[in-house]
Each structure stands twice: as structure tokens, then as C-alpha cells.
């Protein structure tokens, strides 16, 4: 059986990616506030929604990264 080792470097990288997604989600929140002319208090009152959105974005990116890695591996095997 192969041991899976999660290094602190990997954790740091994932946390950084999620933080980036959270920032993107908050930027989307700011854009929506301006576009729909709603209250700026939504910058903090909608943090729960922003957090949920950041998780969705993170998972989407995770899938993309997974398929990218997979296709890269397949190409290497063919070569």
C-alpha cells in the first residue's frame, strides 16, 4: 500500500489558492454591489455567501487542475 504524504508545502499552496478564490469572490461581491446599486454593508453582511462562493470556485479549480494533471500524465505515457 502506498502512503500518501501531505507536506506542509502542499497545504500552504492549497490555502493560498483558496485565499485567492476568496479574494476573487469578494471582488465579485464588490462588482455586484456597484452593478446592482445595493448597500456597501454587503461587503461584510454577505461574507457567508462570499465564503461559500470561494469554496465553489476552489472546487471548480481543483477539478480543472486534476484533469490538467491527468491529461499531462497521459501525454507523457504516450511519448
Amino acid at each position: 500500500m502506498k502512503n500518501i504524504v501531505i507536506t506542509s508545502k502542499m497545504i500552504k499552496k492549497e490555502l493560498l489558492i483558496w485565499t485567492a478564490m476568496f479574494v476573487i469572490a469578494q471582488i465579485a461581491n464588490l462588482y455586484a454591489i456597484i452593478k446592482f446599486d445595493t448597500s456597501f454593508s454587503e461587503l461584510y453582511s454577505q461574507l457567508g455567501y462570499v465564503f461559500a462562493l470561494s469554496i465553489v470556485l476552489y472546487v471548480l479549480l481543483l477539478l480543472i487542475r486534476y484533469f490538467y494533471g491527468l491529461s499531462k500524465k497521459l501525454l507523457q505515457i504516450r511519448k
Partner: protein, 428 residues
């Protein structure tokens, strides 16, 4: 928007102390209720009650009043019913709760023999008047189930006897004590809904409204199913609508100027005499209309009183208030909705020239946060408090009176097929 309270007494006190003058004038019994925290255990302070009529409603009242047996110093000293099984049920329930009332099958004997302060009357409608009048004349305070009586003259007689005797006459309109209604009425009377244009109220059921007869013995038909016969009841009007016209009057702080209506036996052609579906319109002096309907062959919409103003709507039965301008959806949610519609939405081929004005999907806000209470129990607690004070605000009797006269007048309007006004001799 929603109001919260620790318990019903805190809530009532909060309303009684902080309510506006307009609201307190519309609900003066609140002040008395707020003071009603006497829990004296002295035997001299014990309120002695009798229940006349221990059928389904009488026993329901009995179960409710027992909620306060440890909190309020009262005693059920006598029960009366001319139907033995009902009387036995009530007696057993009292025994289970540590009370040992005497039993009677004639109310006159009861009020002559018993040393009591007040009576709770829950007999069939046509018996309310003579029992109430006899009790008031005997010097007893009376709680009588709604509706007051079968005829306008009987309603007037009950009211006049109450005034002459100086004794309390409280009619069983439990919504007067319901925290959802009290908070909602405060908002209406403070103008939060704006100008009320219409009140829409309805009570829909899908059952035949019949009670089982003992051994299917038809001799008991009229006694048990009295609600279905005109001699004893006006059916949906007196048994259901009377509650809701009381709510409309209370909300508007007016009584109607006219009523018109129609009704029929559409579905339950089983020998009953009262209509199984009705539609009635009450017009008020300021031009507000109250549109009412009731039926017993469809229950999709259940029951409701909708108070509709130009700034908002209150639906009391579901404890909700709706603003005409619902709170704005947060921008981020609007953005995601737009993206979702962009991906999954249907592509319009051409624009429609008219969009159906269907009901708003806005779910509104609760009027109060905690609505787990029994208003039936609260009105009985109030009755005990009123007895202890020796008086109740006259407005509480007037609420019952006005609801009852307009209920009977609605029946007359349906039967005559005319728009009717209240004759002067019944105005108070």
C-alpha cells in the same frame, strides 16, 4: 421587523407599557392583563368557576384553563351538561387535575346551589342567551363562547343585561389575546401598513362538519350536530366567520355600514339546513371592504385574515408581514442569479406585451419570533384576572357584540339577497 419576547407575560407587559395611545385605546384589556400577575394562594382570593356545557368546546376550554392551575388561584367547582358522556369526560379530566367539581344536568340548579364567582358557557349557540342572562342576573361574571346568540334581539338582551348587572361579559374571541394579533394590531394602528383598502378573510375546510352519533342513534342528530340546523346555528357564519369579522373590526377600529352576501348548499346535500359555502362583503364607513368566504369542500387555502394596506400586508394566521417593497436581494445573489439564468434560462423568441400580475413570491417576515402559545388559554387567564379585578374593559364586550350582530345580519343579507344596514336599535 419581528418582535421577540421571553414569555407571554413579558410580551403583554412590554406592549401595555410601550404601546402607542392609538393601540392601547384599541386594545384596552392589555393593561389589565399586564397587572394580572397576582398569584395569591389565599383561599379568599380563589376564583371559583363553573363550566356550563362540557361538549367538545367546553372540554377544550377545561383543558386550556388547567394550564394555569399552578399559576392562577382558581377552582372548577361545578360542571353542567345535559348529555351524560360529555359531563363524565369533563369530570374525569377535573379529577385527573386534582379538582372535584359537583355535577349538574340543569344550569339553573347549579347557579342556585353553588357559591361561584363566574361561569364559562360553552353550550350550543341558541342556548347562550337565556343561560347568560340568568347568570348575569344571579350576579355572576360570564365568559360565553362566540358567537353571542342566534338572533339580534338576543344579542342585544345579553349586552343590556351585562350593563344593568355590572358583571363581566366576555365573549370567546381568543384572537384578542393572541400575541401575533396584538403585535400585528399595534403595527396596523400605528400606520405601518398605510391606508387599509381591503381586508380579505376566509376559512376553508374539506369535511362534512358532522360529529358521530352515539350508536348511530338518530334521536341525537339535532343535539349533537346542532351546527347544521338553522334553529340552533347560522353554520359557517356563526361558527367560523364571527371570529374573522371581529378581527376585521378590531383592525379597522370601525364597524361595517352594510353587508351583502350569498350562499348555498353546494356539496354536502345530506339533510343539513345551513350553507356549506358562503361569500360575504362588509363595507366600512371609510370605504374599506372586507371580503369574506368560507367553504367545506376544499381546504387548499385553509384560513386567513389578510389586512392589506398601501404600504404592506399582514397575514395573521401564518404570523407574517409583507412590505409592498420587499427588501432588496443582496447584489452578490443577484449576480449569481443572472449568471445562472444566462446559462440555464430559456431564450425568449419574442417579448410578451403583457406580464401576468401574479402574486409576489416574497415570503415576508414573521410578526413575532415565538408563536408557540395557546390563545384559548390566555383568554381564560384574562377572564380569571378580570374577575379578580371585578371588571373588564367594556370594549371587550363590544368586540363580541359587534362581531355577533354583523354575523347575524350577514345571514339575513344572504337569505334576503339584499344589502343590509344595522337597524338603529342594535347600535351601541
Amino acid at each position: 421587523m419581528e418582535a421577540s419576547y421571553k414569555n407571554r407575560r413579558d410580551f403583554i407587559k412590554q406592549l401595555a407599557l410601550g404601546g402607542s395611545a392609538a393601540f392601547l385605546a384599541a386594545s384596552p384589556w392589555l393593561k389589565v392583563l399586564a397587572q394580572n400577575d397576582s398569584n395569591s394562594k389565599a383561599a379568599s382570593d380563589r376564583v371559583r368557576l363553573a363550566i356550563i356545557g362540557t361538549g367538545s368546546r367546553g372540554n377544550e376550554l377545561l383543558r386550556n384553563i388547567m394550564n394555569y392551575k399552578d399559576e392562577q388561584n382558581f377552582e372548577i367547582t361545578a360542571l353542567c351538561d345535559n348529555y351524560e358522556p360529555h359531563l363524565e369526560y369533563g369530570l374525569n379530566y377535573c379529577h385527573e387535575n386534582g379538582m372535584k367539581p359537583n355535577t349538574y344536568n340543569n344550569y339553573k340548579t347549579l347557579i342556585e346551589k353553588e357559591q361561584i364567582d363566574g361561569v364559562i358557557i360553552a353550550t350550543p349557540l341558541h342556548q347562550h342567551t337565556h343561560i347568560t342572562v340568568d347568570c348575569l342576573q344571579q350576579g355572576l361574571h360570564v365568559f360565553c363562547e362566540k358567537s353571542m346568540a342566534r338572533t339580534l334581539d338576543d344579542i342585544r338582551l345579553m349586552y343590556d343585561t351585562h350593563l344593568l348587572s355590572g358583571k363581566i361579559l366576555q365573549i370567546g374571541h381568543q384572537r384578542l389575546f393572541n400575541p401575533v394579533y396584538l403585535e400585528g394590531m399595534q403595527r396596523i394602528h400605528n400606520g405601518q401598513l398605510g391606508t387599509i383598502g381591503q381586508i380579505r378573510a376566509y376559512w376553508h375546510r374539506n369535511n362534512n362538519w358532522r360529529r358521530d352519533l352515539p350508536n348511530n342513534d338518530q334521536r341525537f342528530e339535532r343535539q349533537i350536530n346542532w351546527r347544521l340546523y338553522k334553529e340552533y346555528s347560522a353554520g359557517l357564519l356563526t361558527e367560523l366567520m364571527s371570529h374573522q369579522i371581529q378581527v376585521a373590526n378590531w383592525a379597522l377600529q370601525q364597524t361595517p355600514v352594510s353587508v351583502m352576501g350569498t350562499g348555498s348548499i353546494r356539496f354536502w346535500n345530506d339533510g343539513r339546513e345551513v350553507n356549506d359555502n358562503i361569500a360575504v362583503i362588509f363595507s366600512y364607513p371609510d370605504g374599506t371592504q372586507c371580503i369574506y368566504d368560507s367553504m367545506t369542500s376544499n381546504k387548499k387555502y385553509g384560513l386567513e385574515e389578510q389586512i392589506m394596506g398601501h404600504l404592506g400586508t399582514i397575514e395573521f394566521e401564518v404570523n407574517r408581514q409583507y412590505s409592498e417593497e420587499p427588501p432588496v436581494t443582496p447584489g452578490i445573489q443577484q449576480l449569481i442569479n443572472d449568471i445562472e439564468h444566462g446559462i440555464f434560462g430559456k431564450l425568449p423568441i419574442g417579448n410578451s406585451s403583457w406580464v401576468p400580475e401574479t402574486a409576489s413570491k416574497y415570503n415576508g417576515e414573521p410578526i413575532i419570533t415565538d408563536d408557540k402559545f395557546s390563545d384559548t388559554a390566555m383568554q381564560l387567564e384574562a377572564f380569571i384576572g378580570f374577575i379578580r379585578n371585578g371588571k373588564a374593559p367594556d370594549k371587550i364586550t363590544k368586540e363580541g357584540y359587534n362581531a355577533s350582530v354583523w354575523t347575524i345580519l350577514a345571514e339575513e343579507a344572504i337569505e334576503k339577497g339584499e344589502k343590509l344596514t344595522l337597524p338603529d336599535q342594535y347600535k351601541i
